[in-house]
Assembly symmetry: C2
Homo-oligomer: 485 residues x 2
């Protein structure tokens, strides 16, 4: 507990000046490859291996004594579990260690012997209050600004999303899928495993103040059996969060809780307790779906970035009025059903507004309703004008349904694209949310169009349902922010 | 009504010996391109145009009299609505027409004048009982065996899925997305529009007997105001269906019904009535999502084809026990939650079965539970053996979660792939369902692996949720088949 009261910064955890891998071998070479890719200064990366002289061209030291520095910012501890305790004691007796990432798995999540090992390590760390640790049973850290990543496939660019995940694989997939689907970028990510030292609550507090982080995304399985008070502390911290926290809980169902036991060995928590927690805190609950979590990170990140770029306070939607613009009667009806079932409204145009729309576009085909079904004119300036006239303060959420275009160089496409840019600018000038729906299927033209939209900062979802659910999370957060102080 | 009592076959509608487009111009050149692509004999394609001498290199006749044949199997009628009635009268006075596809839109769905026009056309068709018609306000027909398609992008190969859609755009998208996502292939497809003559019930009866069709997929918006008894007839036909019918209804919500009015001008039907209909018939209800409909067509088609290839009666799952095999603790927990929430069971291994699994794979990492989390061994024969031992009659549904592989030529991948093939064969030899989950993100390696799996006949879904919902539709159908006679 005393640790928590110290002014302890995790800055060095994510941006270590030097790193020591103990023990390095080919099995953990992905760590080295990750550091290489991120451009970490290899002079500050030390490898200890009793077997190897060199790994990926880098010198290996035979033992911890040979390492020519006294203070290590980050130690990656990768030894068999039966020598974990002795290794740790030896290293701490010879070097000053600021942070340890215990990579070793097969401890508390595996059997009783493993739980005992965790207890011993906890004791050692308590005796060394200046040494903090993540893990065991975790993949570790990702921080582009710190030039560290445990996989070489992670993006080099930094972003504003922080990740705290009790699953290394889900942590990796959130980064991999998120960056490739939507160009998501991250400030800091940590796969924390069994949490025998650093707790989720501490990381949340850190990210709450971290200037590089706007959104925190958590994958939670349960509380460590070693920290009886962590539940209360976590609740207090969740209440205090000033930034959006997207919180996905594994083990929501009873059957899922059984599965948690063999994964991180965490104490499962009841669904009813969590319902109360979500009600009392500004935290946004995410269903057990990585796809949904990534969808929500996307809308929150883009939304906040948009306001930050204008140096303004972030505004969230206060109503649920959607306008759908498309070129398809059938799709429009499905959209109406889906949005209605999700709790959104589709206001119809009336009075002077309808008159104005009719003046701009005296319709012969399609429908000046909502969905606004306006075939054939997408490349004309009428499309831009009629859309702009339809989007006003009565609309909170604008959805344009599109499809692939074969030729992105042709004039018709360029005019259409300029219309999209214009409608987006108009919508966002009113502080409303603008998304494009581009359904997924394998095709080169679809891929090119999608990449262009994503690169140009459009919010692009593969289905109306996913876009609408994402919008509703923004709305939910806005509502919570007004209610919960 | 007399028409329905005749022995009227729609074979000629889908496989016309000749086609006449009246009037042909560049706006409807996509029809010609579709026929060209499908390899329709162009000597049997006649164009009438008062303006053009040639279209896409094909001769245009000036008037209907100039067309050198007396009987037309399929007339595509594309004229302005104000000359629709007179054109029809003129054509019918000069040629024998078997089927008409009235492409013209802006009739019953548009205004009162349009409704009047529909009434007049209905009267004309009643006076010509040997002439049947689809439309107006529809895209028309697709039948690879008849070498006809209204878009050149539709597949050339024939399949076993028939489509009856009250939306041309959704019909096109079902074919386009379905074929590109999952290699779906279709026997016959029809976008039927406002249904002033041929009714959905008639097409259902036809497909029920059609040897080329195994599954019928319907997008329904409402009943034509011109056919008061169609509701009763439709119910009777739905009850009589011997093949799986996937039925997606637009206008499920009240707000959606408002949208239906401007689309096909159909009579909306109440949700409560439909609930009763789905209870009384073997029809499978599909939520208002084209993605879901495509997912379900995929599993039904592959499932039926599998049994047909063995010349056996199709068996449907009778229980909901799932086994998940993966390499990820976190993903396994989410999978457990998702499957449990959807109503599936994940039986745990016990007794002799668990002992056997332990003998094959004395586990040091991962978990011999369900999800079966077996890291590192996917390329070894242990993976195949332990999976086969885990899959027995207690399991109805096997889900393997995978990810992209960089190099499909490397030995490790080939061994893994052979394992997948072996597990699939074993699962299917027990008449159980086997699916692979390969999450979507843009990447060349993911694309190649996905294409390979699809080509080799694997059922591949982008998420556990979508796979499980698809499995549940098979289960629901099996249950209905046992209950409803």
């Amino acid at each position: 507990m005393e640790k928590r009261n110290e002014v302890m910064s995790f800055e060095r955890l994510f941006k270590p000046k030097n790193v020591l891998i103990y023990k390095a071998d080919m099995k953990v070479s992905f760590f080295i490859e990750g550091f290489l890719r991120q451009g970490f200064n290899l002079e500050n990366l030390y490898l200890v291996s009793s077997k190897e002289d060199k790994l990926l061209g880098m010198k290996c030291y035979k033992s911890i004594e040979d390492v020519p520095i006294d203070t290590i910012d980050l130690l990656i501890l990768s030894v068999r579990r039966d020598i974990l305790v002795t290794s740790l004691i030896e290293i701490l007796s010879k070097k000053k260690i600021n942070f340890i990432h215990i990579f070793t798995a097969g401890t508390g999540e595996f059997d009783e012997e493993g739980t005992k090992i965790e207890g011993r390590i906890k004791k050692i760390l308590e005796d060394n209050p200046n040494t903090r640790s993540i893990g065991p049973n975790c993949m570790g850290l990702y921080c582009p600004q710190g030039k560290i990543a445990y996989y070489s496939s992670f993006p080099l660019e930094s972003g504003d999303i922080a990740l705290i995940f009790q699953s290394g694989d889900l942590h990796s997939k959130a980064i991999k899928f998120g960056s490739r689907r939507y160009n998501l970028r991250f400030s800091k990510g940590v796969s924390i495993g069994n949490c025998i030292d650093i707790q989720i609550s501490e990381l949340l507090e850190y990210f709450n103040k971290d200037m590089e982080t706007d959104i925190v995304s958590v994958y939670f399985e349960g509380l460590s059996v070693l920290y009886k008070n962590e539940g209360k502390i976590l609740l207090k911290v969740l209440k205090s969060m000033k930034k959006p926290v997207l919180f996905m809980r594994g083990g929501k169902t009873e059957r899922g809780q059984k599965a948690v036991l063999t994964h991180t060995g965490s104490l499962a928590t009841k669904d009813s307790i969590w319902k109360a927690i979500f009600n009392q805190t500004p935290i946004i609950e995410v269903p057990p779906s990585l796809d949904e979590l990534i969808d929500y990170m996307y809308i929150f990140s883009k939304h906040i970035q948009r306001f930050k770029a204008l140096d303004r306070i972030v505004k969230y939607p206060t109503n649920k009025n959607a306008l759908v613009i498309l070129w398809s009667g059938g799709f429009g009806i499905l959209a109406t059903d889906i949005l209605t079932e999700l709790g959104l409204n589709l206001p119809l145009f009336e009075g002077t507004k309808l008159k104005k729309l009719n003046e701009i576009y005296p319709i012969k085909i399609g429908s000046l309703a909502n969905p606004l079904d306006v075939p054939w004119i997408v490349s004309s300036d009428i499309y831009l004008r009629v859309s702009k006239a339809a989007i006003d303060d009565d609309i909170d959420f604008v959805i344009i349904v599109t499809d692939a275009w074969k030729d992105l160089e042709e004039e018709r496409f360029k005019n259409y694209y300029n219309n999209l840019v214009g409608i987006k600018a108009h919508t966002e000038s009113l502080d409303k949310i603008f998304v494009i729906i581009l359904p997924y299927y394998p095709s080169e033209s679809r891929k090119k169009f999608h990449a262009k939209l994503i690169n140009d900062g459009f919010l692009v979802y593969p289905s109306i349902e996913r876009a609408a659910k994402s919008f509703l999370k923004l709305y939910e957060y806005g509502k919570k922010r007004n209610i919960i102080v």
